[in-house]
């Protein structure tokens, strides 16, 4: 009985630009962290004495990553010194002109990462400890079932009977779509892995990639998820930032262990301002939520409710600090900034300043509602407020 031990991972997406992060050094850190997770994976691989590492697609973020990314990736993979077997996914698909065919990549692979093996053809690969049935993607949107060939292959070829069989594929299975998990892309029905077309009884493990959270989708089928978080998780079941340590034997249930490896933490926080005084509560809660390691955290902050003009100015200062401290602050700002009753009174009911009162009264009326005009009137009120304080 041969037992294959391996790490199942996917969606490294090296070279991801993180374009929405404005600060260049923070962007650089996010990119670097994706290389550093390879080191952590290598360490776990050595500690676990695995036979090989399977990367189920999307090693790179694009089929045209830069040379620097190629070299860095090959360098990091070469360091692991254990066979790393990969298939192209939709991000780094193996179509014409893809990175896998570029001379530079081939050279770097040869020089830096001889342990890296790329499977570009849908043909069985017989390893020492296992047989791999790969489903490499040769275009971004594959409309045919990439695993449909496997059943026929079993009929026409014979394989060592004691070697466990692993399907290595990248794409969505029925029920949920990886594309929907992506921040930028829209929904798609491409790259659909039809599990029902597979002779599941003949297989021992399905190593799937594309879905960024770790998820078991069948008795033997797993999405490993991305090892390094790269987006704010969606929903409670979404669990990114892990890899899977797997041990399989022919005809046995796989033993799967989830190991968290992510360096950076992506979090979400929602707060509702009911009155100006809730600003203090917000400041305390966000402090507690982030804790001390703000420089490795990314926060999606949803703010709702309404604040007065003076309070909103304070909120701005608080947010300014967090934007600077965190790796990224993604703000979903739905707070209505409008003068409080007190502020309105101060602005409009001062008989010694008749002109200001008149103007402010008109603005207060205009500021009602959700129209553009109202929004502009609110800004005008803030300006007026500021002018009154300044002069």
């Amino acid at each position: 009985m041969v037992t294959a031990r391996f790490l199942h991972t996917a969606d490294w997406q090296l070279g991801r630009p993180f374009a929405s992060v404005g600060d260049e050094s923070k962007r650089h850190r996010l990119q670097q962290e994706r290389l550093r997770v390879i080191e952590r994976i290598g360490k776990i691989a050595k500690e676990s004495a695995v036979d090989f590492i399977l990367v189920a697609g999307d090693l790179f973020d694009s089929p045209h990553v830069t040379k620097a990314t190629v070299s860095a990736a090959c360098g990091a993979i070469g360091e692991i010194n254990i066979p790393v077997i990969i298939i192209p996914g939709n991000h780094d698909h193996g179509g014409p002109g893809s990175i896998w065919q570029q001379d530079f990549f081939l050279r770097e692979q040869q020089q830096l990462a001889p342990n890296l093996r790329i499977i570009l053809n849908p043909e069985p690969v017989v390893l020492e400890k296992a047989v791999i049935f790969p489903a490499p993607l040769l275009r971004r949107h594959e409309t045919t079932n990439p695993v449909s060939w496997i059943r026929e292959s079993l009929l026409t070829r014979s394989f060592p009977p004691d070697l466990p069989r692993i399907v290595l594929a990248h794409g969505t299975i029925q029920g949920f779509s990886a594309e929907n998990d992506d921040e930028q892309s829209g929904p798609s029905v491409a790259n659909w892995i039809d599990l029902t077309s597979l002779p599941l009884d003949e297989m021992d493990y399905l190593a799937l990639g594309d879905w960024h959270g770790t998820k078991q989708v069948g008795a033997k089928a797993w999405y490993s998820g991305t090892p390094e978080m790269d987006r704010f998780p969606k929903g409670d079941g979404n669990d990114p930032g892990n890899l899977l340590k797997v041990a399989i034997s022919r005809g046995q249930s796989p033993q799967v262990e989830k190991i968290p490896v992510s360096g950076f933490i992506w979090k979400e926080f929602t707060f509702h301002f009911s009155e100006d005084s809730s600003l203090d509560r917000f400041a305390e809660q966000i402090d507690a939520f982030i804790g001390s390691s703000s420089n490795t955290q990314l926060l999606k902050l949803r703010l709702q409710g309404a604040l007065g003009i003076a309070a909103s100015a304070r909120l701005e200062q608080i947010l300014e600090s967090w934007e600077s401290r965190l790796v990224r602050l993604k703000l979903d700002f739905q707070v209505t900034i409008a003068p409080t009753q007190e502020e309105i009174t101060h602005l409009t009911c001062n008989p010694s300043d008749p002109l200001i009162s008149t103007v402010a009264s008109q603005l207060v009326i205009r500021a009602e509602g959700n129209s553009d005009e109202a929004a502009i009137a609110r800004i005008a009120l803030r300006e007026l407020h500021a002018a009154l304080l300044d002069t």
Partner: protein, 912 residues
């Protein structure tokens, strides 16, 4: 504050003058230089100029007519009391004295201070007086020539007090605070930072920069998208081309195989086509031989048919010809008979015509003879008359040529002679010797007794011997002249008689009588002669003779002609019988001519009939001849053809053989063609072409696809310095960021714009509310002049009452500057009155307002309505004092009127 009276002494033209003012309305009239303006000035200086002021300002006040320092005494009410202010303008020695109602007297400095306090204004002295003095209470003192000044010039100094009162008037309107001004200024500055004066966004503002950045980001994004889409296109191209290559390589061998098959079939077709041609040729030969024989056979049959027809036609034609020949002979006989008849008719006609001609000639000859006879008779008569004429004419010729005129002339001459003689006798002295016993000799001639002698000249009358008398007739020279005239008359008469060879007047009268008898006789004979033909008669007779001759000659000729023929014609005896015979013969002639014409027509008819018959005969003859000829020709032709193609039986046999051969050839060809058709040669060719085209197209497509593959691969091979997809993400993120930034800036700019607009409009509203009471008062005064629809708008600023605008009945507004001179005076007056009314609150509700000839540009009609305005001011408590050189214009004002009389020594006040 109210002026009560003014006394001026030694002040310019005034020696000592007192004017008492009415509490409300005073009209001070006076001609130019009567000192009106001096009074206005004196009152003002009494109030505002310190008495100790010297210099030019004082020296201008000093009178050149009256000695002594100028003095002004002004009584007025102020602060609830009456005051008498007395100023003695004597330079450094000048003095002021203010006496209160209660009897308290203040002097000099104390008095000046009290006055200033009462007036709530400074009093002026020293060097600055000249320049500052006119500005004091200039809203109340309307100096001559300054009535149409801009209200701002005299309202600035009262702005504080005015706004204080205005705020009291209006509960809601308040003056903007310093805070208001600062914030408004700040907002205006912000607006200036963002916007130009024309409301456009300034360059290099944060908004402008954000926009530029957005544009740049959008451009970068478009570029990145283009790069990414090029890559995607390359991938798509490569995929498509790869699929194409696979597909073509699969299809190409099949196409080649198809073409080869089609080509084989085509070769079979070619062989069959050659065979087909031979068969077609054989069939054509058989057919043409059969057709040739059929044609000949048919020709022979046709000829035979024609021959039969011709022969059949020949016999009836001969019968017809014989009948026609007989008819022709009959017609010819008819012609001969008709000719004979014609000949006879002609002969008869000729005979009658000769007879007719002779008879006509005889008639003419007889007529001519008659004419000749008539003329001859007239000729004889004329000859007789001519003889008579000669006789009368010779008698006349023997008489002197005297006419009635000549006789009359002679008579006149005779009468003249008688008159002359009578006249002479009247003048002469008549001496008649009655009896004498002695001789009496007159002029040597003795005078017998009873003899009377007339002396026309002096004569000596000798009586006896011793007595000699000289008789001297009277008349002198006239006597001589009378005598001469007698002689002349006698001479003239004698001469005339002589010329006419007349003896005397009686003779003349008898001659004239003879002539007058003979001359009508002559005329009568002459007329008769003329009536008979006169001179032309000879010609007539000669012509008649010759015509008679020729007529007789003609008759003779005709007789001769007739006698030559068989019959001898008889000659008629007279004209009437001759005419009768002519008439008879004419009838005969007409019937003979008719007989001749009818005979001629019958001949022509017979001839025509004959011609027709002859033509018919000739035609039938030709016809039968032609038919006969064609019968001969046809027989020859049939014979010739039968020699070549055999007789009808052998031809029948040959035709049967030829038909069988043709049918055989046709069968063979049909079979051949069916075989060929089965192969579908057209489709085969098309197939070959089609396959060749398809192969070529697929080969081209293959080449293109291979090229596309190469190109796509080339495009997809990047240098690895950048990742286009990552670049696209960056570009998208940057664009979103720039858009956010831009929108935020835009919103802020709009907010600032809104604020600025609100500040501007609100400030106007507040300002307007503040000055509305003033504007309302001005409007009230203006409505007195311009009517109810008139409204004034003003603004109160640091510079005073500004931006004065006049609105009439909703028309566009007029600014003060744009008004005419007259309207300016009136509007300015309204402003002054309104101002005074508001400021009067500080002076127990009354202020004096002095107009010094202030409406110089206003027409009389306008001045009438202007008085209503002035009256309104007085009603509202102001003291209106009008100085005018045309007081009559202001009669309607109903004021207390004071007139100044212009006197060099002193001005006196006259009460109306």
């Amino acid at each position: 504050m109210r002026l009560l009276s003014l006394t001026v002494r030694n002040y310019r033209v005034h020696r000592d003058l007192t004017v008492n003012f009415d509490a409300s309305r005073t009209l001070i009239g006076g001609a130019n230089e009567s000192g009106k303006s001096t009074l206005v000035e004196a009152a003002h200086r009494a109030l505002f100029l310190r008495a100790k002021t010297g210099g030019s300002i004082r020296s201008q006040m000093v009178s050149t007519l009256h000695s002594g320092d100028p003095e002004v005494i002004l009584s007025f009410e102020a602060g609830g009391m009456r005051w008498e202010l007395e100023k003695h303008f004597a330079g450094a020695k000048g003095s002021t004295r203010l006496t209160a109602q209660a009897g308290v007297v203040l002097k000099d400095e104390e008095a000046e201070s009290k006055v200033a306090e009462l007036l709530k204004a400074e009093t002026i002295g020293g060097r600055s007086a000249a320049s500052q003095l006119p500005t004091l209470w200039s809203h109340l003192w309307v100096w001559q020539g300054q009535s149409n000044d801009d209200p701002a010039t005299y309202t600035a100094s009262h702005k504080e007090r005015l706004s204080k009162h205005l705020q009291q008037h209006s509960a809601t309107a308040v003056l903007q605070s310093a805070n208001d001004q600062r914030v408004a200024g700040h907002i205006a500055d912000l607006y200036q930072q963002f916007f130009t004066n024309t409301g456009r966004i300034r360059s290099n503002t944060s908004l402008d920069v954000a926009r530029a950045q957005l544009e740049q980001a959008e451009a970068s994004l478009a570029k990145a998208r283009e790069v990414a889409s090029r890559l995607n296109q390359a991938i798509t191209d490569h995929d498509q081309a790869s699929r194409d290559i696979a597909e073509i390589k699969l299809q190409l061998p099949t196409l080649v195989e198809h073409r080869k098959h089609a080509e084989t079939k085509l070769r079979e077709v070619e062989v069959l086509r050659r065979d087909e041609n031979i068969r077609v040729e054989a069939l054509r030969n058989a057919k043409s031989r059969r057709e040739a024989l059929e044609a000949n056979d048919q020709t022979i049959r046709d000829l035979q048919k024609k021959l039969d027809t011709a022969k059949a036609a020949l016999q009836p034609a001969d019968v017809q010809l014989a009948a026609l020949t007989t008819a022709e002979q009959q017609a010819r006989n008819g012609v001969t008979a008709a000719d004979q008849l014609l000949k006879e008719a002609i002969a008869s006609l000729r005979c009658i015509r000769i007879q007719h001609d002779i008879e006509q000639a005889a008639v003419i000859a007889l007529e001519k003879a008659e004419i000749h006879q008539a003329i001859s008779t007239r000729h004889a008569e004329a000859a007789q008359l001519d003889q008579e004429l000669q006789n009368v004419r010779s008698k006349l010729d023997k008489l002197p040529t005297l006419d009635a005129q000549g006789l009359s002339r002679l008579r006149k001459l005779d009468a003249a002679s008688s008159q002359a003689k009578a006249a002479l006798e009247a003048m002469a002295t008549s001496i008649e010797l009655i009896t004498a016993d002695t001789s009496v000799i007159l002029d040597g001639t003795s005078l017998a007794a009873g003899e009377a002698r007339i002396l026309t000249d002096s004569g000596d009358l000798v009586i006896g011997n011793g007595t000699r008398l000289r008789v001297q007739p009277g008349g002198g020279n006239s006597l001589t002249e009378a005598r001469q005239r007698v002689d002349q008359c006698n001479d003239a008469l004698s001469a005339e008689l002589q010329i006419l060879a007349l003896r005397d007047l009686d003779h003349a009268a008898s001659i004239l009588e003879q002539r007058q008898t003979l001359e009508p006789q002559l005329m009568g004979i002459q007329t008769r002669w003329e009536a008979l033909g006169g001179t032309s008669l000879a010609q007539q007779i000669s012509r008649a003779t010759s015509e008679l001759e020729s007529a007789r000659e003609e008759l003779r000729r005709r007789m001769d002609l007739a006698s030559s023929s068989s019959e001898t014609p008889s000659q008629p005896a007279d004209l009437s019988s001759a005419k009768e015979r002519v008439s008879k013969t004419s009838h005969e002639l007409t019937s003979a001519e008719a007989a001749e014409i009818s005979a001629r027509m019958r001949v022509e008819q017979a001839r025509e009939k004959l011609d027709h018959c002859s033509a018919e005969v000739a035609r039938y003859r030709d016809l039968t001849a032609t038919t006969r000829q064609s019968v001969r020709d046809l027989e020859t032709a049939i014979h010739t053809r039968e020699e070549a193609h055999g007789d009808s039986r052998s031809r029948e046999q040959a035709l049967t053989n030829l038909r069988e051969a043709e049918a055989l050839a046709n069968d063979q060809l049909t079979t051949m063609r069916a075989t060929l058709a089965d192969l579908k040669p057209e489709l085969l060719t098309a197939d070959c072409d089609r396959f060749s085209r398809a192969i070529s197209a697929q080969e081209n497509r293959l080449r293109d696809a291979e090229n596309t593959c190469l190109l796509a691969r080339d495009r997809l091979t990047l240098d690895g310095s950048t990742d286009p997809e990552a670049e696209l993400r960056f570009a998208e993120a940057r664009q979103l960021l720039a858009l956010d930034q831009f929108q935020a800036e835009q919103r802020r700019a709009k907010a600032i714009e809104t604020l600025h607009q609100l500040f501007t409009t609100s400030r106007e509203v507040i300002d307007r509310a503040l000055v509305q009471p003033l504007a309302d008062r001005i409007s009230g005064y203006l409505q007195c002049i311009f009517g109810n629809g008139t409204e004034a708008r003003v603004q109160l600023s640091e510079a005073g009452v500004e931006q004065l605008e006049l609105i009439r009945n909703g028309d566009p507004s007029f600014s003060f500057e744009s008004l005419s001179g007259g309207a300016k005076e009136q509007v300015a007056a309204a402003v002054r009155l309104a101002l005074a009314e508001i400021l009067a609150a500080d002076f127990e509700g009354c202020l004096p307002i002095l107009f010094d000839d202030a409406f110089a540009y206003s027409d009389p009609l306008r001045i009438q309505s202007l008085q209503r305005m002035l009256d309104l001011a007085a009603t509202r408590g102001l003291q209106v004092i009008i100085f005018t050189c045309t007081p009559a214009d202001y009669l309607g004002f109903g004021a207390k009127e004071i007139r100044l009389i212009n006197r060099s020594s002193s001005s006196q006040q006259i009460q109306p």
